[in-house]
């Protein structure tokens, strides 16, 4: 009897491992920045290069940081979701315009709509590196103390927004 049970057990264990493996997303690298203070930055606004936005300016409120670029095709996927959310959003969405050209970025927002309270320009991608950005678009939820509480890599879908981001914002604001 054991002569059949042992290979069967090994097989079942293997199937279990493979089934879990199928569901893992190797593209989603766990960020070491979760529950850490958001890296400081001071960047010029996209619409007004003379004005800068600093991380400290945003302290005291829950806010979203969305990394985007006009050359980023996947950003178009999430754009309607962000636009819709921005109309009723209780929190500001700040855009980090990543390695983009100012004119192209402004034109892109003009064409597709602007969900952002403000966008700041990270032309060299230095702030992006500080935030561990590796696949635009990326979205961060940052709490009142300036701590990163959640990071989403890739386009924000309605599902991610409603199941993860909105409940988290509610919790952080309460």
């Amino acid at each position: 009897m054991t002569r059949f049970l042992v290979p069967l057990a090994i097989f079942l264990v293997l199937v279990a491992f493979l089934a879990v493996g199928l569901d893992l997303k190797p593209r989603e690298v766990p960020s070491p920045l979760i529950d850490r203070p958001a890296p400081a930055f001071e960047l010029a606004r996209l619409d007004d290069p003379a004005r800068a936005v600093r991380l400290e300016d945003l302290r005291g409120q829950v806010w979203l940081l969305n990394v985007w670029a006009s050359w980023c095709v996947a950003c178009l996927d999430e754009h309607p979701v962000l636009l819709e959310f921005s109309r009723s959003s209780p929190v500001p969405i700040y855009g980090l315009n990543y390695k983009d050209q100012r004119e192209a970025a402004i034109a892109w927002l003009g064409k597709h709509g602007n969900p952002y309270t403000a966008s700041v320009v990270d032309a060299q991608g230095r702030v992006g590196i500080d935030y561990g950005v590796y696949g635009v678009p990326e979205t961060f939820v940052i709490d009142r103390e300036g701590v990163i509480r959640y990071k989403h890599v890739g386009p924000v879908t309605a599902k991610v927004l409603n199941e993860k981001i909105v409940p988290l914002i509610g919790k952080l604001r309460s």
Binding site: P32, L33, V73, I129, G132, Y134
Partner: protein, 151 residues
Amino acid sequence: MLMLVLGAAFAQAAEAPPAAADPVVEQRLKDLAEELRCLVCQNQSLADSNADLAVDLRNEVRSQIQAGKSDAEIRAWLTQRYGDFVLYRPPLKTTTLLLWTGPFVLVAGGVIGLFVALRRRRARVAAPALTDEERARAEALLRPDPGSPPA
């Protein structure tokens, strides 16, 4: 995907290292970058990848080398942002314990299994197939019958 392709295309322009590149710095950069994983094309090292981000990170590592940072400091700087994932040699800690010990555990299991199997087999071979009584009967049967003519 297209975004990555576009990113890589953008990167080509920025790729050219400074004309008077210091060979010592470049060698250290190469050695370091070969141990680091590119986050965009995850099965390439930072040294091999031409993704936009990999180029940026190489430039960043290069300027840190020039600033006199040690390899450990540079690795710490990267893992702080991207996690242990960027290291092709992840550090030994509780979450990576299975990763580091798994192969040895498997080999040990295999060796124990082999040992047990061999011992079982030896026991089977060593055990006499016949009891003394059976052997005597068999010998009696096999002995040529004195009555019959030799074949």
